[in-house]
């Protein structure tokens, strides 16, 4: 599904040049669950942003399902994103002014899905993450675990091929964290490819493979299954 080759990303300010990704290459196959680990500043999040088409690399190739997407313009990237990729963030990133239902419905609206179908799909996914009873609540009325479940629901409602999770349990206690990890595992077992950035060895063990990064490139790969 994903093949990156010799990827480079450099952040420049007037005085400082920081190499975030340095000649990075790896591959993620369909249906795989990959964890990316490494110390702060090693380039994990930059990698995830590039994989999510939120940022573009300075050099190298990024094939998504065999299509070169590294130089896509904003419109094409937005289009590719809404059709193929779901995001789960550490800080949930729900819109405070929208209810649970409306937050989850948002990707379907941008994808142009009809209202009746949207309702059915949102309800289905809310049932799946067991938050249906809170569908008309606003994010600030929910606990952290509940908010992350809503965020996961939002990420999967459009049935993306790929889910990118950036420290999904970082703001949760262990019980809620385990629940979220179990949800991601279930999604993966149902066929969704997952790339997860994490600091937690415990969470990483849910994945099939761990890529360890340092100073912008991979240092080791551990295959767990």
């Amino acid at each position: 599904m994903i093949k990156i080759t010799n990827l480079e990303k450099i952040y420049r300010t007037e005085e400082v040049e920081t190499v975030a990704l340095n000649d990075l290459s790896f591959e993620v196959r369909d249906g795989e669950f990959v964890a990316v680990m490494g110390p702060s500043g090693c380039g994990k999040s930059t990698l995830l942003n590039i994989l999510g088409l939120l940022d573009d690399p300075d050099a190298g190739s990024f094939l998504f399902n065999g299509v070169e997407v590294a130089k896509f313009n904003e419109r094409k990237r937005a289009d590719m994103r809404k059709k193929n990729i779901g995001f789960v963030f550490q800080s949930f990133n729900l819109i405070d002014e929208l209810t649970v239902f409306e937050n989850v419905e948002l990707p379907l609206m941008y994808a142009g899905v009809k209202k009746s179908e949207r309702k059915a799909r949102v309800d289905e996914v809310l049932e799946k993450v067991q938050i249906m009873h809170r569908r008309n609540h606003f994010p600030q009325q929910l606990s952290g675990g509940q908010q992350q479940r809503v965020a996961v629901a939002r990420a999967v409602v459009n049935k993306p091929k790929l889910i990118l999770a950036d420290e999904p349990t970082g703001n949760l206690d262990s019980s809620n964290g385990n629940e979220v990890m179990q949800m991601l595992t279930d999604l993966n077992e149902a066929g969704t490819t997952i790339v997860m950035v994490t600091h937690s060895e415990h969470d990483a063990r849910y994945s099939h493979r761990i890529i360890r990064m340092l100073d912008g490139h991979t240092v080791t790969e551990n295959i767990l299954v």
Binding site: S45, N49, G52, L54, D55, E74, R75, A78, D79, R81, K82, F87, F89, S91, N93, L94, I95, D96, E97, L98, E102, E105, L106, P107, M109, Y110, A111, R154
Partner: protein, 790 residues
Amino acid sequence: MIKNYFKTAWRNLVRNKVYSLINILGLSIGMAACILILLWVQNQLSHDRFHKNLDRIQVMNNRDINDGVKFAWSWTPNIMGPTLKKDYPEVADAVRYAEGNHFLFTVDEKKLVPSGAFADPAFLSVFTFPLLKGDARDALKEVNNIVLTEQLARSLFGSDDPIGKIVKIDSIDHFKVTGVLKNLPDNTAFDFSYLLPWSYKDKLGWTDSAWGNNGVHTYVMLKEGASKTAFDQKVNKITTNHLPGDPLYKSREVFTQPFKDQWLYSKQENGRYTGGRIDMVRMFTAIATLILIIACINFMNLSTARSGKRAKEVGVRKVVGAQKKGLIVQFIGESVLLSAIAFLLALIIVMISLPEFSTLVDQQLHLPFSSPLFWIYALVFILFSGVLAGSYPAFYLSAFNPVKVLKGFFKSSAVSVNPRKILVVIQFTVAVLLIISTFIVMQQIKHAQTRDNGYDARNLVFVHMNGAIEQYYSLIRNELISRGAAAAVTKSMSPVTERYSDSWNISWTGKTAEDKKVNFVRMASDADFVKTLGTKLAMGRDIDIYKYPGDSNAVLLNETAARMMHLRDPLTAVLKADGIEWRVVGVVKDFIYQSPYEKVQQLIVFGPRSRFNTLHIKLNPVNTTRQNLDIMAAIFKQFNPEYPFDYKFVDAEYARKFKEEQKTGTMAALFAGLTIFISCLGLFALSAYMAETRIKEVGVRKVLGASVFNITSLLSGSFLKLVIISCVVASPIAWFVMNNWLKNYEYRISIGWPVFAGTGLLVMIIALATISFQSVSAALANPVKALRSE
């Protein structure tokens, strides 16, 4: 999706109540001010635009050289109208019109002195005032026809049908009502409650066929397709051609002004109409636009300042597939929603303030709710305001990088500091500009008001000579003095505050070729002119026919006239006018009889062999005004029983000369006040938000030893700097604009530095008061609370 945008927008508004309120309130006050001004502008632009033949109607004008300067005037000879109709095939109709009638109307026991006008029969076909009853073509055909307005008809005949009914005029003539006009709209320059046929004016002997006597307004309606330019060329020398060989009329030109321009273009430069009310219309349209921009700037500033609150939403929407274009639409849509809410509130403010504003501008303004065009304009107005206010925030917010905002790396103030500062400077520049302008207008009015007018207007009244007053004048005069109501009485041609007549055709001993083209203003008196009006004699004596029987052809000159005539010894001078020789018996010091903003023109007060229209009465200072007026009323009732006793105080009439400027001043003050209020509203919200975002910095500074004063100065200083920049930017602009405005007045102030310094100080105090509450609150806050949140 629109529903989703709407929900988000609405919930944002509700969640941030204070900021939303400030935003909406500021915008609605700005919009209300803008709507009020635009209603007035629309009223001005619609003056007399409802006549069907508007584009074909022209106003006849003269142009000549007076004292070396070209000037134009729209008073024309009585004979001009019929001549144009007879001799010029391109003229479809020519109409003469003259206002100022004060006839006594009697219907049964009812007696009224309404104001009316004489007009040619074609008046009602050329000017299409709606005629409720009668036929426009022949309503003024016969000499005893009269056309009434609906209101006058009701006053005279109640609910009866007035058509065919008889009105007695001045106890002499009987007129048959042949037409009833709908009451004149507020947006017309014509002012009459009845029309009498021009033939009646002829019958009274009030007309002549002299081409040199300009006393009526003449309007022509050109035939379809006729060229105004060609007609102008043809009529250019009409007066000169009718007075061949008369050197006085050699340079006289006749030209037309489109009737539709007459209301807006009345100010002339070198004999051409170049401006007038249109300048005010343009100035206040600019003010309306500026006020709206200022109100929109509040929205821009608050939206961008508070962008951090919306950053996450932008990030999320982008991550789940939104494009920049969609987000721009969303944010502009939000701004349009806010603009629509503000507009509704603005309409309420306008409805509440419209009666007062109508009084201020002296026009009956109304909101035309029933007109579909109004709602179309309203929609355009909402969209325009919404897009104006929302476009910058929309582009600003939609450009957020989702990676940064979702990671919490977003810093709003750092990226948006300059545009926001510029916008605050724009707001305050406009406010300072308007305040300085207001002060200068006020100073100019005061300057003219405190100008010595050269006579004593206190306890001075005038009465129009109607009915039997002329006949019994000597008796009335004696009674007024002997019964102690008056200290002095004089007959005159016009009220001292007005000019009724002027003349080029004056000659005197020693007159040179250069002196020929000088126009003299004419007044008249039988006796006690100086004593009654309280003017001052520079030399000689007053006219007094009762003391000096030879004074029937005596004249007084004002100082300017004596100077202009180059008279070495004015008291031996003899003038020739109207075929009579007049002896100069005195020279009065210049006094203001017309505009207090202009220099005094040359004036001759002719003796008793003149026409008289007015009585001036100096009330007896020993009695109260009421006592004097009661005695006067009894005397006039005795000698002129048919007419109600009507009088006017000269000081009140003089005060009316300041009306236009006072209106301008009050409007400028009102809108300057609103501008500073809206700007401060924005500044208040901005300072509140800045205090909120700098709370950690304030905490750290306090921990490191900063005092409350240090913190307050820090937070207030940045805003005050902007206000100072605004003062510096606004001052030269204000100087330039107001210096040009002052050039309209010959008698004017010179702009000094105190007005700029005073305004700067005032605005800084207002701004400081606005932001100090927030700054002091932030400075007094417990630093531990701010730092604990880290």
